[in-house]
Amino acid sequence: MNPKYRRLIIIVFITLTLGLATKLILMALEENIIYFFTPNEIKVKYGNKQDIQKKIRVGGLVLENSVIKKDGTTKFNITDRSHQIEVLFDGPLPDLFREGQGIVVEGMFQNNKLIASQVLAKHDENYMPPEVADALIKNGVWQGEKK
């Protein structure tokens, strides 16, 4: 095969693959990004009518004395100490879930309640997810790790 023709095939092929990949990536990014908010940001952005039709993540602390467990469903409030959001979750809670713990909840809003599909609290009792730590520091609730 002559080299010119061969080069053409290769270039066309590479362009096609990369084009396809870019298209797929852009589509996937648009549809599948999950934004992270603090309860206060949600209030500021969407007011009290919380009807975000997208999966989001909310980070904050589990409000003290707000956890109610009933028939495998857990109800609790998540707070950044300036606003709080009611969360419903019917899965198993992570080992480190407790009141006052920094957690991240992933889910969708329904009737002003966050229906969680996942509750994340990871790894050790002193650990604070970085997103939550940032948010709490912003609100002046927490000064960062004491060391």
Partner: protein, 651 residues
């Protein structure tokens, strides 16, 4: 006193390796016996010093020398011995020590290839390896000294994160590092070729086993990590597209591409520039992985250190190790002349090339998914996360053609040689895959994607078997003795077939787990029965039991199938008083056809316990597949020409 010796050894190695790099720089054009011997000897000394230093660190962990910061932070007298030892690399400083130990070990191994590699190239390889060693030694000495002492001696240590107290995780870091650092050898080969301008088929032949061994270790390392996540985290899944997993997966994808392109180079002497680029990228991705994991940018069990100066230091190393060679690459590659004759679109090399392209594109999609949230956060403070949905939409469709081609590529021949009986093979392959796809279609739970994924697995598995069968039939060799079989297979690409079969087995597992699993939560008390299909679980009891360094709440379930007792499952919740944390130990009953996976949730005698049940069909095939892939790699190393000769003489 002993830890100070370890520290001094590290400083000595640092000075010695700096001198070695200087020596190499001044003698870069020379390739005489003396130069090469000096480099080889000093490489050996580096390795021995680091080995002793590492040994001292392990010893400090074994005797629980709490005067050392990292021992008191990460160990405890009550911890079982194996976790005291594995605790050595279960922290930032110790893991870096392991890194440089493996790096100097690999350098030492390459330096022994004096008779196979030309002196000029070998001295460059040693030089580059030593520069990397220097960078990492300075990282350790200036930011992460493992031998730092405490002023006040604590009575006991803080213990190791209980999640890490696990046999799978004792082996996961060494194997992963073996893979990461192994890629430094091909990196040095590539940079060495750029420096010396010397490149030929022999270069590729010498480099290939190093890539293969690194790739095999990486495969097992990643599989162990995934297996650990599966049984230890109690989430029932095996891969979460977590940035930390991606960090190890990207070098794997690049190494897979490299493994194939270097083979093309070895046989056809084309794709020189591409192979060099992949070699550089492979190790860069290893370093990037280390950076992502260690910088504390991400939320993860791996982020031991969130000290920003450390992240910056790794970023600088990454910059030097990637930027330098890439500049060199840009200026030098026009020098290399390839064999441009005889290009055939229907050849093995073009199939491998296309797959190379797909693999690197796949690596790019993973890279974007991993880094995009970090960039977005840095630019406008928006915090986002990218979950499995992104990868299902990008990575999966890009890998599908890879699997399609993987089955066909072994049918094709190199260059312009006509492939043998390809039409017949393709017909076999298509018919069996169609039948398999139909079979999947008949299953009730099947969806479009499950049929596609399952058919791809069948396609690949059949492809491997068809190719092997035709090969054996084509030779008139009578395979009646062990020796004949052994010699026959050592002449053929058995390693490739085993590794490809591994991918097929892996895909079977993925299909089963992704599309046919059952998963539910339920609240039950002692005495209750859970019925699922023809299986039932009887909740027998919950007891509190003591462990060596934890307290356990253990539940007992009896599993029945068709009213016959199969086994007893004991999911646990463990509380570690020293570390003040709790872990969930899932009870897993594993067999060939799938796993029964039980997790004990919160609860008490009054309300009952919340219980999570998973039936994961075929899931162990995932790790079995990874095992076959790594085995294929090892077999192909054994098949290299030299060892084949040796075998022939031996038998």
């Amino acid at each position: 006193m002993i830890p100070e010796i370890g520290h001094i050894l590290l400083i000595l190695t640092f000075v010695a390796s700096l001198l070695q790099v200087l020596f190499w720089c001044f003698n870069i054009k020379k390739s005489d016996d003396i130069t090469i011997n000096v480099l080889i000897k000093s490489t050996f000394i580096n390795f021995v010093f680091i080995l002793f230093s590492f040994g001292i660190l392990v010893y400090s962990f074994i005797i629980s020398d709490f005067s050392l910061v990292i021992v008191s932070d990460n160990s405890h007298t009550l911890k079982p011995l194996i976790y005291k030892i594995s605790g050595t690399w279960g922290n930032h400083e110790g893991s870096l020590m392991l890194w440089i130990l493996i790096l100097s070990f690999f350098t030492f191994l390459v330096s022994r290839k004096k008779h196979q590699i030309s002196y000029k190239l070998l001295s460059s390889i040693i030089g580059i390896q030593t520069i990397i060693l220097c960078l990492f030694l300075s990282f350790i000495l200036f930011t992460s000294n493992p031998f730092e002492r405490l002023n006040v001696l604590p009575i006991d240590g803080n213990g190791l994160n209980p999640l890490l107290q696990d046999p799978g995780l004792a082996l996961h870091p060494p194997l992963l590092y073996f893979g990461y650092v192994g890629l430094s050898v091909s990196f040095s080969f590539a940079v060495g070729a750029l420096i010396t301008g010397e490149i030929n088929k022999e270069w590729a032949r010498q480099m290939r086993p190093w890539i293969t061994i690194a790739w095999s270790a990486l495969t097992i390392g990643i599989a162990l990590g995934s297996w650990w996540a599966y049984y230890e985290l109690g989430w029932g899944g095996w891969w979460f597209w977590d940035p930390v997993e991606n960090a190890s997966f990207m070098p794997w994808l690049i190494a897979t591409a490299l493994l194939h392109s270097v083979r093309i180079l070895e046989v056809r002497f084309i794709l020189i520039n591409w192979t060099i680029l992949l070699s550089i990228l492979g190790f860069s991705f290893s370093l990037l992985g280390t950076f992502i994991v260690r910088s504390g940018l991400l939320t993860s069990v791996h982020a031991f250190a969130s000290d920003p100066s450390r992240g910056l230091f790794i970023l600088i190393i990454l910059g030097i190790a990637t930027g330098g060679p890439l500049i060199l690459y840009a200026t030098k590659t026009s020098l290399f002349k390839e064999d441009k004759s005889q290009f055939n679109i229907m050849s093995k090399e073009s199939a491998l090339l296309i797959n190379n392209l797909f693999l690197t594109t796949a690596a790019a999609t993973v890279l974007i998914g991993t880094l995009y949230p970090l960039f977005l956060d840095a630019f406008n403070g928006n915090k986002i996360s990218i979950g499995p949905a992104y990868y299902n939409a990008t990575f999966a469709p890009i890998m599908a053609p890879v699997i399609l081609l993987m089955a066909i590529a072994p049918f094709l021949s190199w260059g312009i040689k006509k492939p043998n009986k390809i039409a017949k093979k393709l017909i076999f392959l298509s018919v069996i895959t169609l039948l398999g796809g139909l079979g999947l279609f008949m299953i009730d739970e099947s969806s479009l994607f499950s049929i596609i994924c399952g058919s791809l697995a069948i396609w690949l598995l059949t492809g491997v078997i068809v190719d092997l069968t035709f090969q054996i039939k084509a030779t008139n060799l009578r395979l009646n003795s062990f020796k004949a079989i052994f010699l026959y297979f050592s002449k053929n690409n058995l390693g490739v077939h085993i590794a490809h079969m591994g991918v097929a087995v892996f895909l079977v597992g993925v299909t089963g787990e992704q599309f046919y699993k059952t998963e539910f939560n339920i609240k039950k008390n002692v005495g209750d029965i859970i019925n699922v299909g023809n299986k039932s679980l009887i909740f027998d009891k919950v007891e509190t039991l003591p462990g060596p360094n934890y307290k356990s709440e253990t539940a007992t379930f009896t599993l029945l199938k068709d009213k016959k007792i199969i086994d007893v499952l004991k999911p646990e919740k463990r509380f570690y008083p020293i570390e003040k944390s709790q872990t969930t130990e899932a009870a897993i009953l594993s067999d060939f056809w799938g796993d029964t996976y039980l997790v004990l949730g919160d609860g008490n005698k009054e309300t009952g316990w919340s219980i999570r049940v998973y039936f994961n069909p075929l899931i162990s095939w995932i790790w079995g597949g990874a095992g076959f892939m790594a085995l294929g790699g090892l077999v192909s190393i054994l098949q290299s020409r030299k060892s084949r000769k040796k075998l022939k003489n031996a038998i």
